[in-house]
């Protein structure tokens, strides 16, 4: 790696660190590019040569967090045991636990996921393969074991699970914490899975 490329990477890392802290403390809307530059100790101009917009910065932060979460999950998913709903519940509980470590950051990500604009590299909530692929695997396992109907519409089911998972975070605004989100999701999954049970 050339000196220039190294400098670029260093700036990038500094900007992402600074932005992550500011988004999670002050809030996404409240944080300006200028404030990010200041905290990162770089010029406003060099932030803009690395990222086109604030949304792109947020997208990168979330992609890196998702990678981190995926590493944690890969250790867990093959060892999930129990019924279909138990496995789904465990998988979702790990995600709530991880994202609620920085709730404000995740809520900002949800907000941008819905506001209708697009930013380079921004993977909207619910569309990430890191979320959908393991769900697909868990559902395939349940079909294989004959727990749910073989003709279950997998993508439709994933859409529904992801919607419930995401919208439950709306309760955080009124003070809900991990335990409440997880228990609500458990109950929702149980009801959803009832309808898929093989009869």
């Amino acid at each position: 790696m050339g000196v220039r490329e190294q400098q670029k990477q260093a700036t990038r890392a500094k900007v992402l660190d600074a932005a992550r802290d500011l988004f999670d403390s002050a809030g996404y809307e409240e944080t300006t590019i200028r404030a990010i530059a200041e905290r990162a100790g770089v010029s406003v101009g060099s932030v803009f040569t690395t990222f086109a917009s604030k949304a792109e910065i947020l997208g990168q932060i979330m992609n890196e967090r998702i990678e981190q979460l995926t590493v944690e999950l890969e250790k867990v998913v093959p060892h999930l045991r129990g019924s279909f709903v138990d496995r789904l519940s465990a998988f979702m509980a790990i995600r709530y636990d991880f994202q609620m470590r920085r709730p404000k950051l995740y809520l900002a990500y949800l907000s941008v996921s819905f506001h209708g604009q697009r930013a380079r590299g921004f993977v909207r909530m619910g569309t990430s393969p890191a979320l959908r692929a393991p769900l697909r695997e868990i559902i395939a396992g349940a079909i294989e074991r004959g727990e749910i109907r073989a003709d279950a519409e997998v993508e439709l089911l994933i859409d529904a699970i992801v919607s419930l998972y995401g919208f439950n975070y709306l309760r955080v605004a009124e003070g809900a914490e991990v335990a409440e989100l997880t228990s609500l999701m458990d109950r929702e999954l149980k009801l959803l899975v009832e309808g898929l049970a093989r009869r």
Partner: protein, 215 residues
Amino acid sequence: MTFVNQKTLTVLEPRQRPTRRALAKQQTREKILAAGRELFMTRGYEGATIRDIASAAGMSTGAVFASFADKAELFDEIIASDYEALRDEMEAAVEDAKDVQSALLGLFGAAYRSHVHRLPLVCAAMSVGWTRDPKTAGRSREALKPIVDLIRNALQDGVDRGELASHTDVRLLRGIVWEVYLSGYRAAVYEGWTADDMLARLAEQLKIILAGVRA
């Protein structure tokens, strides 16, 4: 009758007849709501300031704050009045329906068909919800209550008719149905889905959900 009228009339009840001053006040509110709707549509929630809205309505920011506590309250009233305008159609859909599935599709279909023409406003509403403070979040939930109640009633009717199991957790089910309904808007925004597309997917999802609570 709109949401706005109901509110003002409650204030006026002792005299039964609106005074000139009250009428003027209501006109002011409606002007602000119209200007706000327009600006939220074109600039999004964060992009539209109270100052812009006041100037578009031809009044001072002070006059806006005399009618609404803050931007969030103004915005929530716009969203609530959009639903309120659909309420008769939604109620009729529930009354005419022969079962829970068609009642829900009737009422959500009315919402999808209307909102699909105002997607920027829908986006603003969906994106602002995550970062509210507790007080505003509670107020917003209160503003949507009439519609949420319609959904609950449709589900409760299903239980009473014996279509859904008597032990159904109506509250939980209502939450699930509402969230799956809301997620349809994202496909409209990002994938260009029509109201019919959204409704078709909702129908499939409701089938799965309701299958789990049938009597």
